[in-house]
Symmetry: C2
Subunit: 366 residues, 2 copies
């Protein structure tokens, strides 16, 4: 390790899909950046490990040690109390999707504990929570970064922030923000004009390939996209009240919204295939395609999320696989937007966004 | 201005197209970020203004004051001597394209003077200079950022650095890196299959629209693209020796390389139109298009720059206007690259990259 290596103390909450890859990246980080990561707290849903004297937990074996020697996790308030007296800089990495933990962010920040996270909840719940978080960070000179809350490791949030901070004016943001819905429409309404299968079959295929949540309705309701549009709008300076304060088109037929298993839902979805088929026909017959798009006009605050008929030259038309795409229109960029495209999900790239955020804090720490 | 505003001292060298916009952004920066910019040195080719006591120069009127009260610019060594005793943090913004100033970067950095610049020369000359610069910055804890040296304000270099620092492995970089050559081929070999005019007419049109250098041969020789490929390769960890150490296809017929004016060149270029026409025909007859592409395979260090026949689904095929595009293939991103597309030239977005770099240094300064 470099003699210039900086010390940083870290608490990791959440050791699932993203958390475990993040821990793996932490374990190897000293090979590519001169930093000494001291892991002093690690927790999953029902286990947590830490030492009262802030003794370092060996990172490569941390999960194993937690599972073997860990205790019931303390409350988040107790975690704040433990971390506030830790050596500095101290960072809490939230790799959960917990609203309860998100609600505690202001407490962490007020106590000088910085945060890195892919958890969308804190930034897409009420505008009041967003404001509390940003004000707590500013007043107490702690940092909060959440690059991976939209588009995984792609440089989207950092780019929007750079634009705002350097005085550009963002006018419009538009894109495909869900890997699942990207895959579904790229398959179902292909740019090469081939028809693809029935809508319900396409959803079933996506589920089988692991592209959907265990219950595909959690993708099809559009809430995930609405959350991302909310986050981007706020970063761009537009105070969207909540992901439920603008029109979001759900792809779940009203009759199938609840009270059945995911399997039963998939079976019954076939009864509604003709709806989507009609929309696809309308698009293809004029040489266009269907895409599930989120957008916001920053000046007016008008946001919307839903299926659109787009031209084949539209940036979203030509997507592959489950790629995300975002177009950012600004005053400085003029008529043609800055467009970023790539994998917006997956453990490796999501964890990379969190690790990158961590290094940003390390670099800025005194 | 916020009471938390940080002080930063800055020397601006170069007040041309990019420099003047940069100064304008500096003058307004306090409105969007809590920073107090102290301009203590400003210079153009034949004038420079500074005060021995590091007194602040009013930014909005700086160019005017320099033109009125400025003296003959001192040598770059004298500038280093002046700046090394300035209050910290001190940043030199090089908005020139001077190789002489680029050669002095190690001197600036060794004296604790950080650098922000869109000037490609320092990073695309000999590998030895690159190494001297990076080593000087590391040893003396000064910063050097050059986002705008490739793709103007687009987040390309910062993204590559984040990938490297967090432990991703970049495998391949490919793209269209010249706004001029993007425009020429988007016009000449359009994705909609229309033939476009003759090659020489397209070049003439680009010149008339202001898309080329005063002498279009400075774009057509490919050196600008070769420099950018060199920079990106090095940032990605591949020690390319120089922009002349790999194959670069010049679009200037051998017979027209020198000894004539730009106008005469344009007249005579028509005699060679059949060459490019044949290549276009070869591409279009199989449903493909011509694009001028730079690429590097990071593992083998194999770089090349030149005209390629690409499929219409290739990211570069669908470009508009004079947009740049870059695709970054990495281990974590897998088969589909991270792709960034947008304006890669222009005063506003180029200066924004430099201003963004400045803020990165402000944030990291103690």
């Amino acid at each position: 390790m470099s003699p210039h290596a900086r010390d940083v103390y870290i608490a990791v909450i959440g050791t699932g899909g993203i958390g475990s890859v993040f821990i793996d990246q932490l374990a190897n980080l000293h090979k590519t950046y001169p930093v000494h990561i001291h892991l002093i707290y690690i927790a999953m849903v029902d286990k947590a490990l830490h030492y009262a004297d802030y003794r370092e937990i060996d990172i490569p074996t941390a999960v194993e040690a937690m599972e073997k020697h860990g205790a019931q996790p303390p409350s988040f308030s107790t975690v704040v109390n433990f971390l506030k007296d830790a050596p500095r800089p101290i960072i809490m990495a939230d790799n959960t999707s917990s609203q309860g933990l998100a609600d505690m962010y202001p407490e962490f920040l007020r106590n000088g504990i910085s945060i890195v996270t892919p958890n969308k909840k804190a930034f897409s719940a009420s505008y009041k929570l967003w404001k509390n978080i940003m004000e707590a960070a500013e007043a107490h000179e702690s940092f909060i970064y959440h690059e991976s809350s939209v588009g995984a490791g792609m440089p989207i949030i950092s780019t929007l922030k750079d634009m705002v901070e350097t005085g550009d004016q963002i006018t419009r943001i538009e894109g495909v923000f869900s890997g699942t819905l990207s895959f579904l429409f790229n398959q179902y309404s292909s740019i090469d004009g081939s028809q693809g299968g029935e809508w319900s079959e396409t959803v079933r295929l996506a589920k089988e390939l692991g592209y959907t949540e265990p219950d595909p309705r959690d993708d099809l309701n559009g809430l995930d996209v609405a959350r991302k549009v909310t986050i981007l709008s706020r970063v761009a300076g537009c105070p969207i009240e909540s992901p439920k304060s603008f029109p979001v088109e759900s792809l779940i037929p009203k009759e199938l919204e609840s009270m059945m298993s995911a399997d039963e839902f998939l079976d019954k979805l076939a009864d509604f295939d003709h709806h989507m088929k009609g929309r696809r026909h309308a698009a293809h017959s004029v040489g266009k395609v269907l895409r599930y798009i989120g957008s916001v006009d920053i000046a007016t605050g008008k946001a919307e999320v839903g299926v659109q008929i787009v031209d084949k030259s539209h940036p979203a038309a030509n997507l592959k696989g489950s790629d995300n795409i975002i177009s950012i229109y600004t005053k400085r960029y003029g008529a043609l937007p800055l467009t970023i495209r790539g994998a917006g999900a997956g453990g490796d790239v999501t964890a990379m966004g969190v690790t990158g955020d961590l290094l940003k804090i390390v670099k800025q720490s005194k």
